[in-house]
């Protein structure tokens, strides 16, 4: 088991390295010279060159890459070209916002999707199960941002229950923070919950067909008991996979919701930095997102080992 974890960890590190090279290379081919964008299009070649030098863009690519990697490892990737603001703290702030948003949504989604999904599976031949299943299909089909816009329109603009957007620091304004968290979390969680519920349903249906569930019933467990004691843990493996993928998608997918709700998260930082051609910020944000995704994959893998003893022995 330890060996398997080590192996996965090694794959994780190699993947991160590969991804960093990809991201870095991609940023190098990005058109639009940051120095020129900062100075305006008719700035003299001399001043552009000076600024490039100041940004370190004239150094060999490999040096720039290594420099960037060192910056990332020391959690200090440098300062922005244009605003001169340090990138590290900015990303930390934004990431914190996005993480709160994504985690809250994920919790909402799981709280709704797991019971609903199980219900849909258990009752899949009954009217209520079919209706819920159909509803989840419709839920999957609604664009998250549309849901966000409608939520704002109803609950913020018309009913005035909560603010239409923005963000508050939880420590300073806990009530305002929660008020501002509700709608975006629901908008983000809604679609995820619908997707997740469908996966839960399918995983539970699969488990319901397993021989060992029949064994459990032959032992004298009623269907619900059998599912509870023997089914759920086994159904968890595919669901955990989907959860991991969803979490990763959410991290980036939050950019749309952040836009709708004017939340200063990582996604909006990315969009702004792209527009400003803040190469260093863009590549660092992208890298943070990519590492987060890979990390989630790694953790999901580790979680498998906890859930499924079959995976613990390296031989299988």
């Amino acid at each position: 088991m330890v060996l398997r974890l080590l192996h996965r960890a090694m794959v994780f590190v190699l993947s991160v390295l590969a991804a960093s090279v990809l991201v870095f290379a991609f940023m190098r081919v990005l058109p639009g010279d940051p120095a020129r964008v900062a100075l305006g299009i008719n700035a003299s070649e001399a001043s552009v060159a000076a600024l490039r030098e100041q940004f370190g863009l004239d150094r060999p690519v490999v040096v720039q890459y290594l420099d960037w990697m060192r910056g990332m490892l020391t959690l200090d990737p440098g300062i922005e070209f244009i605003s001169k603001a340090a990138i590290g703290p900015q990303i930390a702030d934004r990431l914190q916002v996005t993480l709160i948003l994504v985690t809250t949504s994920m919790i909402f989604a799981v709280l709704v999707a797991v019971p609903v999904g199980i219900w849909m599976a258990v009752r899949h031949r009954h009217a209520d199960g079919v209706v819920m299943s159909a509803a989840s299909q419709v839920g999957v089909a609604i664009p998250a941002f549309l849901a966000g816009i409608v939520l704002i329109s109803v609950f913020a603009v018309r009913l005035r229950w909560v603010p239409s957007g923005g963000w508050a620091v939880p420590a300073q304004d806990p009530v305002g923070f929660l008020q501002r968290l509700v709608l975006p979390s629901i908008a983000l969680a809604g679609v995820q919950a619908a997707v997740l519920a469908r996966y839960v349903r399918s995983a539970v249906l699969d488990v319901l067909r397993e021989d060992y569930l029949r064994t459990a019933r032959a032992k004298g467990l009623r269907p619900v008991q059998a599912l509870w004691r023997h089914g759920l843990r086994n159904a968890a493996v595919p669901v955990v996979t989907v959860l991991g993928l969803q979490l990763a998608t959410l991290l980036v997918g939050a950019v749309v919701i952040e836009r709708v709700f004017v939340i200063p998260g990582l996604g909006s930082l990315l969009l702004d930095s792209v527009a400003q051609r803040e190469i260093l910020t863009v590549q660092t944000v992208v890298m943070v997102l990519v590492v987060a995704t890979l990390l989630i994959t790694f953790l999901v893998d580790a979680l498998y080992l906890v859930i499924d003893p079959r995976l613990r022995t390296g031989s299988r």
Partner: protein, 295 residues
């Protein structure tokens, strides 16, 4: 073969179903029918738009803006005095285009990669799948944003980005399907009959994973439609000059409360077609997989 056998508990050796082979006469499920119907309608609308639209596409008309549905304009007119129905019809083309580009890119790259990974058990297969995992760490939207920065926002660029981000999904599903096929005895039979690896890939693996790929394509199609809408919202999607449901929705936001139908109509069109493709994919999966028959 009767479908009852799946339900009957006896292990029927002649259960009659290939891993992914729908047999004629299998009962069509409601998902497949409803999904198929919706997909057919979308395709129909797109085709119809080539032959007939109520008004010239994208044309600003000398009429009042913000009309609600009426006899002249069945779905009303928008802020720029364009006929909404016309845009919905022409927008169906974009929707299909979006799906085809994204799914096409993903399938054209992902399927061969998946087959390659399944058929080369050694380091090559490992390399392909590890590369796939790295690509998986670039979610669609992230790639789309990066690509939009690189090439400017356009439907094609956005969809290629989404297509690339979808490659891992296709590669994985193809690989797992192909691994299953490679384990079958008919592949061993083909080898012992003297088929080359390429021959096996073409004659046996591809036809037998086609079902899985089609299901994945249908689901990815739906995801691509949603992604186009999201990108349109971020201003990275379909540019003006092309009718697109995502774009219509984007443009209708500012008048959401004064002219809600302008948002509702394309919103419903998007949701319905996504629903259609999802249902179609689900239904197809059930139809192709006898194990899931009674779902």
């Amino acid at each position: 073969m009767s479908e009852v056998q799946g339900a009957a508990a006896d292990a029927v050796t002649d259960s009659g179903q290939a891993p992914a082979g729908g047999s004629p006469g299998r009962r069509l499920n409601p998902s497949l029918l409803v999904g198929g119907a919706i997909v057919a309608v979308v395709v129909g609308l797109a085709l119809l738009s080539y032959v007939w639209t109520p008004y010239a596409p994208m044309r600003v008309l000398p009429v009042e803006p913000y009309q609600t549905p009426n006899a002249e304009h069945w779905l009303g007119t928008d802020r720029l005095r364009r006929d909404v129905l016309t845009q919905i019809l022409v927008g169906a083309r974009t929707t299909l285009f979006v799906g085809f580009v994204a799914v096409g890119v993903a399938a054209l790259v992902g399927v061969p990669l998946g087959i390659l990974a399944a058929m080369s058990p050694g380091w090559l297969g490992q390399l392909v799948m590890r590369g796939n995992d790295v690509l998986l760490a670039f979610p669609a939207l992230l790639l789309a944003i990066m690509f939009a920065a690189l090439y400017g926002g356009s439907t094609r660029v956005a969809m290629i980005a989404i297509g690339i981000a979808t490659i891992p999904a296709f590669a994985r599903i193809t690989r797992s399907g192909a691994l299953g096929v490679m384990r079958t005895e008919y592949v061993v039979a083909a080898r012992s009959a003297g088929r080359s690896p390429l021959g096996i890939a073409v004659r046996h693996v591809v036809p037998n994973v086609a079902g899985l790929v089609i299901v994945q394509a249908s689901v990815s199609f739906a995801i691509a439609i949603l992604a186009e809408a999201a990108l349109a919202y971020l201003g990275l999607g379909t540019p003006t000059g092309q009718a697109s449901w995502g774009r219509m929705l984007y443009e209708a936001q500012t008048t959401l409360r004064s002219a809600p139908h302008l948002a509702l109509i394309p919103g419903a069109a998007i949701a319905l077609s996504v629903l259609g493709f999802n249902l179609f994919g689900d239904g197809l999966r059930d139809w192709l997989d006898p194990r899931l028959e009674d779902r």
